[in-house]
Subunit: 458 residues, 2 copies
C-alpha cells in the first residue's frame, strides 16, 4: 500500500506532477520524502522545543533551549544515530522555519511603533555604522592577517565583510522571551539591525566588485542606498495609507477575524517579498509591515469570537455591568492582530530556531588549530560589536552592544559567495562557521545576564 500511503489526499501535487508519483508504482514517494514523515518531524520539533523550555527555570531565554535542542538533534549522528539527518535537508521544514522568522519579526514590528523607533533612529544609525566599520577593519586589516598570515588580501576582505552583519532574529527573540521589547535598548538594536542589513548589502556589492572587477562602481552603491531608503520610507508612508483603505474595503466582504488575520498576514508576506525583491532581507520587510500596521487601521473588524460571545451573553445584564465589561474589553481588543498571529508564531518560530541549532556542525570544533583561530576571531566579533554599543548614548550600552553580537545567515552567505569566487578557503570557511555558531549560542545567556543585572541595579 505504500503508494497510497504516501499520496492519499495530495490532489494538487498529483494533478500537477502529471501522476508521476502514482505512476512510479510500488516504491516510497520520493522528492521531499513522505509527507507523513514531515508531519511527524514537525510534531517532534515542536515538542522538543517545548521540552527545552525547561531552560526557563534556569533563568535562560527559551530560545537558547530551542537552539540547544537543535544542536543535540543535529549532532546525534556523531553518536551513530542518524535518524534526524534527512530532516536537515528537507526543503519544506526549511521553508517553515523561514516563515517562522518572518512571523517573529512581524510580531516584533507589531509590538514596536514608528514614533518610538524614530526617537532612537539617530542612535540606531550610529550603532549600526560603528558596528559595521569596526568588525570590518578588525577582520580585514588586524586579526585576519595576524592569525592567518599568507592569504590574499581579498580573503581578508571577505573575512571582514562576514563579521559585519548582525543577525537580529536571536536578539529579538531574547528580548521578547524576557519581555523587554519595549525598552530603549531593544528599539535601538532593532533599528540598528535594519540599517545593518542595508549596509550589508552595500558591503557585499563593494567586496564582490573589488574581487571580480578590481574596482567599485559608485553608481551601484548609490543605487543600493537609494532603493533601500525608497523601500523603507515607501513601506512606512504607503503602508500607512494603504492599510486603512484595504481594511475598509475587505471589511465589506466580511468582518470576521479570519479576514482581519488574512489581511495582516498577507501584508506581512507581501512586504517580505518586496524587501527580498529589492535585495534586503525578507525579515526587514516583515518588520516594516508590523511597524506600519496599527490596530486603528483594522477598526472595521469585529472583536475576537470569545470576547464577542461574552459581550452577547451579558446583553441581558444591567447596563452598569455591561458598560464596565465593555470598557475593559475595548481596552483589550486592540491587541487583536498580535493575538491572531500568535498561534502561527507558536507553530513556526520554534522550527526556525531548532533548525538553526541543527545546522550547527559540532565536528567543525574538532580541528584544534582552526578552533583556536576561530575562538580568537569570535572574541574580535564580540568586542567590536560591544564597542559599537558605546555609540548608543544614554542607555545600557553593554546591552545594546551585546544585542548586536549574533552573526548568522548573512555572514554565511558572504562566506559562501567568497568560496564560490575562490577567495575563501575551506579553513577560513570553517572558521566563519564556528564564529556564527558561537555568537549565536553565547548571545542569549549574555543578554539574559545583562538584563538580570540591570534589573537588580534598578
Amino acid at each position: 500500500m505504500p503508494i497510497k500511503k504516501a499520496l492519499v489526499y495530495s490532489l494538487p501535487i498529483i494533478l500537477a506532477a502529471g501522476y508521476a508519483h502514482a505512476a512510479g508504482g510500488g516504491g516510497e514517494a520520493s522528492g521531499h520524502g513522505s509527507q507523513a514523515m514531515v508531519f511527524l518531524w514537525i510534531a517532534l520539533i515542536l515538542i522538543a522545543a517545548k521540552v527545552s523550555g525547561l531552560i526557563a527555570k534556569l533563568g535562560q531565554p527559551t530560545v537558547l533551549g530551542e537552539l540547544l535542542v537543535g544542536v543535540l538533534l543535529g549532532n546525534l549522528g556523531l553518536l551513530g544515530f542518524h535518524y534526524f539527518e534527512p530532516l536537515k535537508h528537507d526543503s519544506i521544514i526549511a521553508f517553515l522555519g523561514e516563515l517562522g522568522v518572518i512571523i517573529l519579526l512581524f510580531q516584533i514590528g507589531l509590538e514596536s511603533n514608528i514614533k518610538q523607533m524614530a526617537k532612537v533612529g539617530k542612535t540606531a544609525f550610529l550603532v549600526a555604522i560603528v558596528g559595521v566599520i569596526l568588525p570590518f577593519i578588525a577582520g580585514t586589516y588586524l586579526i585576519g592577517p595576524w592569525l592567518m598570515p599568507g592569504l590574499s588580501s581579498n580573503a581578508y576582505l571577505f573575512l571582514g565583510a562576514t563579521l559585519t552583519a548582525t543577525s537580529v532574529g536571536i536578539t529579538a527573540r531574547v528580548f521578547k522571551d524576557l519581555n523587554k521589547l519595549q525598552t530603549k535598548e531593544a528599539q535601538i538594536v532593532l533599528g540598528a539591525a535594519v540599517i545593518d542589513d542595508v549596509l550589508g548589502l552595500i558591503i557585499l556589492a563593494v567586496v564582490t566588485a573589488i574581487v571580480t572587477l578590481g574596482a567599485v562602481s559608485l553608481g551601484l552603491v548609490a543605487w543600493i542606498i537609494a532603493k533601500s531608503i525608497l523601500f523603507l520610507a515607501g513601506a512606512v508612508v504607503l503602508g500607512q495609507i494603504a492599510a486603512p483603505w484595504l481594511g475598509k474595503i475587505f471589511s465589506k466582504i466580511h468582518t470576521g477575524v479570519a479576514m482581519k488575520f488574512t489581511l495582516a498576514i498577507s501584508f506581512c508576506l507581501a512586504f517580505a517579498y518586496l524587501a527580498q525583491k529589492i535585495g534586503l532581507a525578507p525579515i526587514v520587510g516583515a518588520f516594516a509591515a508590523g511597524l506600519v500596521l496599527d490596530p486603528v487601521h483594522f477598526r472595521y473588524f469585529k472583536d475576537p469570537k470569545a470576547l464577542r460571545d461574552i459581550k452577547d451573553e451579558l446583553q441581558e445584564a444591567d447596563s452598569a455591568l455591561k458598560d464596565r465589561v465593555a470598557k475593559v474589553m475595548e481596552k483589550h481588543s486592540h491587541r487583536h492582530i498580535e493575538d491572531l498571529i500568535e498561534p502561527l508564531g507558536n507553530f513556526l518560530i520554534p522550527i526556525f530556531f531548532v533548525m538553526t541549532g541543527m545546522a550547527v556542525k559540532l565536528e567543525t570544533m574538532f580541528n584544534l588549530p582552526i578552533l583556536m583561530v576561530a575562538l580568537a576571531i569570535t572574541l574580535a566579533a564580540f568586542v567590536t560589536k560591544m564597542m559599537a554599543g558605546l555609540a548608543a548614548g544614554k542607555c545600557n550600552k553593554l546591552l545594546v552592544g551585546a544585542g548586536m553580537i549574533p552573526r548568522g545567515e548573512v555572514g554565511l552567505i558572504f562566506a559562501g559567495i567568497g568560496k564560490s569566487l575562490g577567495v575563501v578557503s575551506d579553513a577560513v570557511f570553517s572558521v566563519i562557521v564556528i564564529v556564527v555558531i558561537l555568537t549565536t549560542l553565547l548571545t542569549p545567556p549574555i543578554l539574559a545576564f545583562l538584563l538580570k543585572r540591570q534589573k537588580e541595579a534598578v
Copy 2:
C-alpha cells in the same frame, strides 16, 4: 544582488545544502524557486480566497468561492497568461495545502465528539457500505462496459474502484461554512467517510491483486481490516488515556497557551502520521485526533490571554460582578483549543481549496466524446451515492447522499495506479479527472440548496 536576494536568512538550507545555492553564483536560486516568490504566492492565494468569499452573499458556501477562484487562476494559461503556472508545481505550496486539509479535519474532529459519532456509527457503516458497493457495480458492470465498450475487464474494474471513494474535505467544509457540523446528517457523513477510507484501502488491494496476480489473498484483506480497526480503536482508547497524562506533564514545564497549542497540534500531526503509516489517509488520523482531544484533558493550562487579562482587571470589582463575569468566561474558555487552532486554519485551509481548484484542467472538457462519457459517468457517480443516503434511516437522506458525492484524491490515485499498471487508458483517465472535477465543484451548491430547503421546511 540576486544571490543575497534569494538566500538571505536561510541558514538551515544553506548549511544543509553545503552552500550549493550560494556557490551557484549570480543566478536566481533554483529548486523551489525564490522563497520570496512563495511568500507572494501565499499572500495572493489568501487574498484571492477572501475576495471569493463574496460568494457568501449569494448564499453559497465560501469553499465554492475558493475552488472557483482556484479554477480561474489555474486556467488563465488558456488565455495566454502563464504567471500562475509555476505555482501549480510548487512543492511547498502543495505541502501547505496538505497541512491545511489536515488542520480542517482536526478542527472538524474537535467540534465533533465520540459519543455523538458512536450514536450514528451503525448508520454511517451502512451508508459507507452501500456507497461503495453501488458505484463499484455501476462502474464495473453497467455504465462502464455500456459507454466504453471493448476495454479489458480490468479497466472496468479500475473505473468502478475509482468511483467508490468519498473525498470528505469538501463536504466537511460546506457543513462548517454553513454552521451545520452538529447535525445528525453531518455526523453520519463524517463517520461514513472514515469507514469509506478503510473500504477504499481494501478495494485498492483487491483490485491491484486481481490485475497483477490474477487472484486475491484473503490474508491481505484481513490484515488491512485488522490494522485499520486497531488504529481507529487504538487512537480513541490510547488517545483518551495519553492526552490528559501528556497535558499534566507538559503543564509542569509551562502553563501558557503556546504549550497547549503545541500539544494539540503535535497530537494532530502525530495521528496524521500514524494513519498514513498504516495506509489510511492522514486526514482520518487528524480527524481521530480531534475526536479524542477533549477540553478537559488540558485543564491544567490557563485561559487565553485576553480573557485572563479581563479577569485580572476585574479583580478590584465587587464580587457579584466578578462571579458573574467569571461564570460566563468559564463557559467560553472550553472552546480554547479550537480558538487556538483557528488562525492556523485560516492560514492553511484556503491554500488547500484554491490549489484544488487550480488543479482543475478545463482543457480536459474540450474533447466532446470524452466529455459526454464523463458527464454520464458523473451522473452515475451522483446517483449511486445519493442511493447510499437512502440507507441512512431517519434523517434527511438526500443530504447524507449528497454529502457523499465528492470524489477526489483517492479516486485519482486509483486511476494513477491503474494507468501505471497499463490498465487505464488516457481516455479513461481523462474521464475520471472530469468526474472528480464535476463532483467537487457541484457538491457545494447542491448541499447549500438542500440545507436551505431543509431549513425552510422546518
